[in-house]
């Protein structure tokens, strides 16, 4: 970015440029980020095609991909990691937490089958990125973060990005958010030793809950919890990758 700013300085003269540079530098940055984001969406689309066997679909919901293309991931990433914001990797965001790999965020969001009239609960706000993606797709997102500074930061970021339909609460997500229950969908991004019974209760019949299992940087598997209209709970375990287990040749 810098050499570019300098060349403009030379071309245009100091007094004029001083006022332009600040906005131009921002605009150039944003443009570059936009370009990178568009490229990332292409990467995810390709990955999904490669993984189609596992996901039982050739492509994710176009609305989800649109949201992925719209939400500015770099805003949710600390300043020093921004240049890596649109790589398809998880990134550290401080406090021992991470922002998930965009590909995983896309798949998890798609698994929730979000609709514009949906009310979604997220346990483990982290950077706020997943909440922002969901906010693009549903009516309202309620998100709970246990680490205070993270929750505060996410709240500020979400205000900044104009996601006004997200409500952030700082506290223990185990008991869900009773006042707004039941939810059409729930994401539990904070690692859970088990599925908290209150969350199962707060899931609407016909609702879906997604839980990524693994370490902070690596999602080992995704668990989809479904509650039937009769209230029966089943879980579905899946790999986020197209890897044919067992003995191959399937």
């Amino acid at each position: 970015m810098k050499p570019c700013c300098h060349s403009r300085l030379c071309l245009l003269g100091i007094s004029f440029v001083l006022c332009v540079v600040s906005s131009a530098a921002g605009a150039i940055g944003e443009q570059e980020f936009d370009r990178q984001r568009a490229a990332l969406v292409k990467v995810i689309e390709q990955d999904v095609r490669d993984t189609s066997l596992y996901l039982d679909k050739e492509a994710l919901d176009p609305r989800v991909m649109q949201a992925m293309g719209k939400v500015r991931r770099h805003v949710f990433v600390p300043e020093y990691e921004r240049r890596l914001a649109y790589r398809n990797h998880p990134l550290p965001i401080g406090h021992g937490q991470t922002i998930s790999q965009p590909y995983i965020v896309a798949i998890m969001t798609d698994m929730l089958k979000p609709r514009p009239d949906h009310k979604v609960l997220e346990v483990g706000t982290g950077s706020g990125y997943q909440a922002a993606v969901l906010a693009e797709l549903v009516k309202r997102v309620y998100t709970i973060e246990i680490i205070e500074p993270l929750g505060e930061r996410a709240r500020t970021t979400l205000l900044q990005t104009g996601h006004n339909n997200v409500e952030v609460r700082i506290g223990d997500g185990y008991y869900g958010w009773k006042e707004h229950a039941p939810f059409d969908a729930i994401v539990v991004t904070a690692a859970a030793g088990h599925i908290p019974p209150p969350l199962i209760q707060q899931l609407k019949p016909g609702g879906r809950m997604v839980i990524p299992v693994g370490s902070r940087f690596m999602t080992q598997q995704l668990v989809l919890v479904e509650k039937s209209y009769e209230g029966e709970v089943t879980t579905r375990q899946m790999l986020p990758v197209r890897f044919v287990p067992l003995t191959g040749g399937h």
Partner: protein
């Protein structure tokens, strides 16, 4: 420490008397430092990366050889000064080396895509290599300076190292790891004072005083520093939650235990709890081992309903099929499984846990919180290793529970891949089932992983154990169920009855667990609640119990062949043939499928090979220049082959025998300490003995004698150790330790001779080659440790021993004798 240190009178005195105590003490300190670093890095990082980091740091020995090949002659001109400088740098680098390295933001999980990580890792290596580099310089310079007494010096080096290994284990019982680091740094300073006294340096009082002064900043630094645990380890993650705090800490060589309470947000540790559970777990205290692997102490207020979650775990299955009265819990930890058994009505529970401090925490410190679980009349807590405990007693049990000891995240990423485990081998399962009463159960709970790995491997191991015991229809004795997070395998001492099948079906149905195997299972029951793309667990069980067993294991994409005592790597699932497929998927979330533990070992080997090649080739340019007039010509290839083979052979034997004796002594720590110390001390004595062969230049004769001994004793041990161990297995531990030392002594004694004899020969004929030989040996030792594990993973420890014996035979053939007596200028 100036040039005035050296006087001609000093030189005469020191000529006849090498600073043997200094070398012994330095070597002890350096080895203690190495073991302590492993401890420290296992806390702040993860075990297998600790292993990689320290292996690479040990190349400091090789680097010293390279450095001295260039600088030896200059440094030897003022040996005392060079010795003092290196001793001082060792003492001063030991503590900051670790403290700085732990501050560097190294995170292994970002290695694959973040270029800053490999660079950080390099920096970590460098920082930790320095202390070993300086220590090695001091020893190698002394060897070169006292060429006539090489076996003496080397003998003290080895004996010192052996005692250092014992000392650090003892020290870690009384000191926390960081305090031990301070002690080691102070010991480094003591080395300087001892050297001043041994070399009769005129300013020795001043030097001693300076050393005493230097202890002040070291102790200050040690007491004000803290361990910087990686932000991604379980403990760090838990401590982020408001209100959590560490309320007690215990440390021993077995690990650092930290008890955590979390009053605001309960810990709620209930791995695999059913989705139908209505109640959350009661209050718990977390016990973290080395800042990871949490075990919990569950609060028992006496209200039975509060503990109802224990009945919602897959591990509760056996209590629903029968009413086991006598229960054995292997790996009792904080006592959760004990509580489960107690709650289910078991009348006599033996709880076995390896770590005495963990037992003491539950039994004494938090007894009230735990409802006196370990003090209950029907419950006996034993401090013992599981295998040893079972072998030592004839008691029979209605149920033996093998608890889920490792944490999911560690297990899922293959972190334990290269840790030997004698709990999950065919022989172990056979030993456990031998202790079952008629119709008793062995229950093994494991984490569910996708694609299935350990559950299938334990099933394959169980089948192998039953077959080895002569059971004709293993399929009638096995039952396997799974939740979304854990699986439980039951091995029954008898055929599973129809009533038990019925109970199992009810148990699973009410808890939304799936059945994967029981005799007479029907396809309509499969994949009902925790839905997989296909009923993989059942399909695999069917294949493993059918005629295609071997073909299935062969074709499966992960290594699920049963582990054995000779290849005790239950947690290694890696198959080379699967790597390319997973590697292609790395961008699409495929990285977790890579079994990291094995690849870290390969990465360690690759890095060590590369660095070693550089360190070994570089000095060749210097040696020519350093050659003194009158030196004989000695084949470089022979020097390389000889010293590399010894380095490899020595550690192959040492590591393989540590494993063999671990099964005899049944304690990973004591076995490692006794065998390591035994090998080093007796090899040191062997080296001392080798001095006599130098008197009439009978170097080669000495080597032949030693190798004959090694091959003969090693060969006999290969054949006789197992029956011998079986014979003395029930002896008391002290007697078994004594017997172990007796067995190690003659072998180690012989192993201590080939190195100093060849080095003495070099000293006599071509002293300029000494540092190079030292460096080659240093590099080979590092490679050897890694290679030994790799070979054991694939071929077993017996092959490692055989290879070591072949290497020693090879050594005789390539003894680096001078060619003719052509004087070179």
């Amino acid at each position: 420490m100036s040039a005035t240190l050296r006087t001609s009178a000093d030189e005469q005195r020191t000529e006849s008397r090498p600073p043997l105590l200094t070398i012994g003490l330095l070597s002890a300190t350096a080895l203690a430092y190495e073991i302590l670093l492993m401890r420290l890095f296992s806390i702040v990082q993860w075990h297998h990366f600790a292993y990689m980091i320290i292996s690479l740091a040990l190349l400091g020995y090789g680097a010293s050889g390279t450095f001295l090949a260039f600088a030896q002659s200059r440094l030897l001109r003022n040996y005392p000064l060079a010795l003092f400088v290196n001793l001082t740098l060792f003492a001063l680098a030991a503590m900051p080396g670790f403290l700085l390295a732990q501050q560097l933001p190294f995170n292994p999980e970002q290695l694959l895509w973040d270029l800053r990580q490999p660079l950080t890792l390099m920096l970590v290596y460098m920082l930790l290599m320095l202390p070993f580099f300086f220590a090695a310089n001091a020893i190698a310079l002394t060897l070169a300076r006292y060429r006539h007494a090489i076996p003496h010096v080397y003998g003290f080096d080895l004996v010192g190292a052996g005692l250092g290994a014992l000392a650090i284990v003892a020290l870690l019982f009384v000191l926390f790891p960081l305090a031990a680091l301070t002690a080691i740094s102070v010991l480094g300073l003591v080395c300087i004072a001892v050297a001043a006294w041994e070399l009769q340096t005129p300013k020795r009082r001043k030097i001693a005083f300076a050393c005493a002064l230097m202890t002040v900043p070291i102790i200050w630094q040690g007491t004000t520093s803290q361990l910087e645990v990686s932000a991604y380890k379980d403990l760090s993650q838990t401590l982020r939650v408001a209100g959590t705090r560490i309320i007690a800490e215990r440390s021993s060589p077995l690990g650092l235990l930290q008890v955590v309470e979390s009053p605001q947000v309960p810990l709620r540790h209930a791995p695999g709890m059913s989705v139908t559970a209505k109640r959350e777990p009661p209050a718990q205290l977390g016990i973290f081992s080395d800042a990871g692997g949490m075990s919990t102490i569950v609060q028992d207020t006496g209200e039975p309903q509060a503990l109802s979650y224990l009945d919602q775990l897959t591990s509760a299955l056996p209590y629903h099929l029968a009413e086991p009265r006598r229960v054995l819990i292997l790996g009792a930890g904080g006592g959760m499984d004990v509580l489960q058994a107690h709650r289910a009505g078991a009348q006599l529970i033996d709880a076995v846990e390896l770590n005495p401090q963990l037992v003491a925490l539950v039994r004494n410190d938090y007894a009230e919180f735990a409802g006196g679980i370990y003090n209950h009349p029907g419950i006996r807590a034993h401090v013992a290793e599981a295998r040893g405990y079972v072998l030592d007693r004839d008691d029979r049990y209605d149920l033996i529970q093998l608890a889920l000891l490792d944490s999911f995240s560690a297990s899922a990423t293959g972190l334990y891949a290269l840790s030997e485990s004698y709990l999950y081998t065919t022989e172990a399962l056979q030993a456990f089932t031998d202790r079952l009463s008629d119709n008793g159960y062995l229950a093994i709970t494991r984490w569910i992983k996708l694609p299935p790995r350990d559950t299938l491997k334990i099933l394959a191991t169980a089948i192998a154990a039953l077959e080895a015991a002569g059971v004709e229809a293993p399929e009638k004795r096995l039952a396997l169920i799974r939740g979304w997070q854990t699986s439980t395998l039951l091995i029954k001492n008898g055929d599973i009855a129809a009533s038990e099948v019925k109970a199992l079906q009810v148990f699973c149905k009410t808890r939304a667990f799936d059945v994967a195997w029981y005799p007479g299972i029907k396809s309509g029951e499969l994949n009902r609640y925790n839905i997989l793309k296909a009923p993989w667990y059942h399909e695999a069980a069917k294949a493993l119990l059918g005629p295609e067993h071997e073909a299935f294991v062969e074709r499966y994409k992960f290594d699920i062949a049963p582990a054995s005592d000779d290849r005790p790597y239950f947690f290694n699932f890696f198959k080379w043939s699967t790597l390319p497929e997973i590697w292609r998927l790395r961008g699409q979330g495929g990285i977790p499928l890579i079994e990291a533990g094995y690849l870290v070992l390969i990465a360690t080997l690759a890095q060590a090979l590369l660095a070693s090649a550089l360190l070994i080739v570089l000095p060749l340019f210097a040696i020519k220049r350093a050659a003194q007039p009158g030196e004989a010509y000695i084949s470089r290839v022979r020097v390389l082959a000889y010293f590399a083979a010894i380095g490899l052979g020595f550690l192959f034997l040492e590591i393989a025998f540590i494993q063999k004796f671990m099964l005899f002594l049944h304690h990973p720590l004591y076995a490692a300490a006794v065998v390591l110390a035994g090998f080093l001390v007796f090899a040191g004595l062997g080296s001392q003995r080798a001095q006599r062969y130098t008197q009439h230049e009978r170097y080669q004769r000495g080597v032949r004698f030693a190798v004959a001994g090694i091959v003969a004793i090693g060969g006999v041990y290969l054949l006789l150790l197992d029956p011998l161990f079986a014979l003395f297995m029930s002896w008391p531990t002290a007697a078994k330790v004594a017997l172990s030392v007796l067995l190690i002594a003659p072998l180690a004694f012989c192993m201590g001779m080939p190195f100093p004899l060849a080095l003495s020969s070099l000293g006599e004929h071509a002293a300029s080659l000494i540092p190079w030989a030292w460096g080659v040996n240093g590099c080979a030792s590092v490679l050897s440790a890694v290679l030994a594990t790799l070979l054991a993973v694939h071929f077993g420890f017996t092959v490692v021993v055989l290879l070591a014996l072949l290497l020693y035979l090879f050594v005789v053939m390539v003894f680096p004798a001078p060619i003719g007596s052509v004087a070179r200028t």
